[in-house]
């Protein structure tokens, strides 16, 4: 399951199709026409793949697991910059662990809009 932090989400600068809506492999995210916010329309269908988490340009989305699976609050945020993927995993009590991995060699991916 993912959570969108609306204090951080910038509605992709008003773009018609939001990045998270565009990338979700399950087509689970839509946009509320009233306030232009992206909304997870089918949260129970999330695969926890983190495609939207990584593709969000302002890192407004985090992954959590349903309570029936883990029984506690945790979250994962990730972002993609050039050849690297950055990730922060937060456990109970706010304990954080950070990762920085190089996942592209020779050249970078264009960022497409």
């Amino acid at each position: 399951m993912v959570r969108i932090d609306y204090k951080v989400c910038n509605r992709c600068g008003g773009a018609k199709e939001k990045r998270c809506e565009r990338i979700c492999p399950g087509d689970l995210i839509g946009v509320n026409p009233e306030d232009d916010r992206p909304v997870v329309l089918y949260p129970q269908d999330c695969w926890a793949c983190t495609a939207c988490v990584k593709d969000c340009p302002v890192s407004a989305i985090s992954l959590r697991l349903p309570f029936q699976i883990l029984g506690k609050e945790t979250s994962l945020k990730a972002s993609v910059k050039g050849r690297k993927t950055y990730c922060v995993v937060e456990g109970e009590g706010g304990k954080k662990e950070e990762f920085e991995i190089e996942v592209i060699q020779n050249g970078t991916l264009r960022r497409k809009d």
């Binding site: 990338i23 979700c24 695969w47 926890a48 995993v89 592209i104 991916l109």
Partner: protein, 558 residues
């Protein structure tokens, strides 16, 4: 619903591992060729590879050969594999891996520059962005991509497949795509059986939940021959988060232990009916240990040091991010992870269910080729084998594409598909796709060897399953959708029903137990090499939808 018409030379259905590789191969061989990928999601993060990958499990490391790879696959699947297909994959593995490395995939190296092996037949990769890398190669080679269009049927005229119909998920339009040749690369099927967790956990599954068997279903409805649907794949994984056990065992040196902390694999080895198959042996031993009251079983990482732990976490970030949440805040020493078998899937990449193809990856339908998880007879191909199959299928398909014009499509066929696909939107009352899916999964769980019955099967239950599926299928006209997302979900459940019916017929037909858990017949508990060292194949009648079973010899003969 508007009709959108498109023409291309080579149509690739599904832009995953096989589809992307096939498309790049096509434009490399023939830059002026028109090549179109139709993709249900967005090609940057669709299908099995959406999460990423931390190892390529099919690679010919130094000291191994294509022949030794074939021997391993044959042994692991109890002798019933298509040797010609497996060998053709093995011979192409290293070249395709090299190619994807050139496209940008980081592969871990030893000081001498050779790939660092993971196990005998694997290499370690940092594949968090493998799917975007493949998608970028597709774009660089100027392949046309149609995202968010879900293929609903093949177009068959006279004896030949001449195109495909697709439903636009965003615009609700019906796409009518004509092509000179087609390669189906949609992947296999999840969601046939009930998943391990309900509600908010229902999609925490091993296989991509949006790989629903559409590639099989469109072939079945056009009369293609399929093979080995009784060879269901069950993944032994970290329970609930479905993290790969290979990452723990091969990557971090974890041992399988039972609830008492005892390693249990060794004691089963001498008498196990599947001791020659590491895949089935590990799965069956865990199931038996649970049945004997010594479960749960675990992978034990309690002796891990800080450096290996960090490496292990990086591996998870590359492939299984949800498991990082399971590790969050845990201290070293508290590292045992419960393992369990998944619900069954139908796939041709880990298992061997799929289209019956020749060594050129031609299906039994003219103009249609198959590659990747949707192609049968060659298990353990994994991602690199899917690339090889994409390459082979493209090379064969290109030979068939000649200048000439495309045939015109019968307008009645278009009207028929339009009315079939838009019907759920017109119903005010009826069966929601969610309800139909739950109905299907209940039937398959209870009568076709799901998790709740510990995968066990017998004839009477399977016959009951057959009857109930027929009843479910007769309710397809009552499916209703509120929007385009649900409309596609309706089409997906229709596809799953056709695949599930085929699975049940295959399970009924093979009267032995060759692959325990995948196909555990309580009424025929022994493996019977005298009678069953052969393939079970099937064809669905295009008019009556009845499924006819055919037997094929190990070398493909009738």
């Amino acid at each position: 619903m508007e009709i959108v018409r498109k023409d291309t030379d080579l149509l690739i259905i599904g832009g995953g591992a096989a589809g992307c590789y096939a498309a790049v191969e096509a434009k490399t061989q023939s830059p002026s060729l028109r090549c179109l990928i139709v993709e249900k999601a967005h090609i940057d993060r669709s299908g099995c590879l959406a999460m990423g990958l931390n190892a390529i499990n099919a690679y010919i490391n130094p000291g191994e050969s294509p022949e030794s790879y074939l021997n391993y696959v044959k042994q692991d699947f109890m002798g019933v594999v298509r040797e010609d297909l497996v060998l053709s994959i093995a011979r192409g593995l290293n070249d395709t891996v090299k190619k994807v490395e050139e496209w940008g995939l980081p592969i871990e190296k030893r000081p001498d520059g050779s790939y660092k092996p993971r196990g005998r037949r694997g290499v370690r990769v940092l594949g968090e962005r493998l799917k975007p890398i493949l998608a970028e190669a597709v774009r660089k080679h100027r392949v046309e991509v149609l995202n968010r269009v879900a293929v609903t049927n093949l177009i068959k005229q006279e004896d030949r497949i001449v195109g495909a119909f697709g439903l636009g998920i965003r615009d609700g339009n019906l796409y009518v795509i004509r092509a000179k040749a087609l390669i189906v690369c949609t992947g296999g099927a999840s969601g046939l059986h009930k998943p391990p967790n309900p509600g908010s956990g229902r999609h925490l599954m091993w296989y991509c939940p949006w790989n629903v068997g559409t590639g099989y279903a469109i072939g079945l409805r056009a009369g293609a021959e399929m093979t080995s649907f009784e060879n269901r794949f069950i993944a032994l994984r970290v329970k609930d988060v479905q993290a790969p056990t290979g990452t723990l065992a091969l990557g971090a040196g974890a041992k399988q232990i039972n609830a008492r902390g005892e390693p249990y694999l060794e004691k089963y080895h001498k008498d196990s009916p599947v001791r020659e198959s590491s895949t089935y042996f590990r799965l069956l031993s865990a199931v038996l240990e649970n049945q004997a009251g010594r479960g749960p079983c675990y992978l034990d990482l309690s002796h891990i040091d800080a450096q290996t732990l960090r490496q292990f976490k990086v591996d998870l970030l590359n492939m299984s991010p949800a498991m990082l949440l399971m590790l969050a805040g845990r201290e070293i020493g508290d590292y045992r992870f419960e393992i369990a078998g998944s619900e069954p899937y139908v796939v041709g990449g880990h298992g061997e269910a799929g289209y019956w193809v020749d060594v050129e990856r031609r299906t039994t339908l003219k103009g249609l080729y198959a590659a990747g998880d949707v192609a049968g007879g060659a298990p353990k191909k994994y991602v690199s084998g899917c690339w090889v199959e994409g390459q082979i299928a493209t090379r064969s398909a290109l030979q068939e594409i000649t200048p000439g014009s495309l045939p015109s499509i019968d307008e009645d066929l278009i009207k028929k598909e339009q009315s079939r696909t838009e019907m759920p939107l017109k119903r005010r009352d009826g069966l929601s796709p969610q309800e139909a899916e739950e109905w299907l999964q209940k039937i398959m769980d209870e009568y076709a060897g799901g998790l709740s019955t510990r995968y066990e099967l017998n004839e009477e239950k399977l016959l009951m399953g057959r009857t109930l599926l027929k009843d479910l299928k007769s309710n397809v006209p009552y499916l209703k959708a509120e929007n385009y997302h649900e409309l596609v979900a309706c089409m997906e459940v229709v596809d799953r029903i056709d695949v599930a019916r085929t699975v049940v017929e295959h399970l009924l037909y093979r009267k032995e137990t060759r692959w325990p858990c995948s196909q555990s017949r309580l009424d025929y508990p022994q493996r019977d090499d005298a009678h069953w060292l052969k393939f079970v194949n099937s064809v669905m009648d295009v008019d009556t939808a009845e499924i006819k079973i055919l037997e094929k010899g190990l070398h493909g003969q009738d």
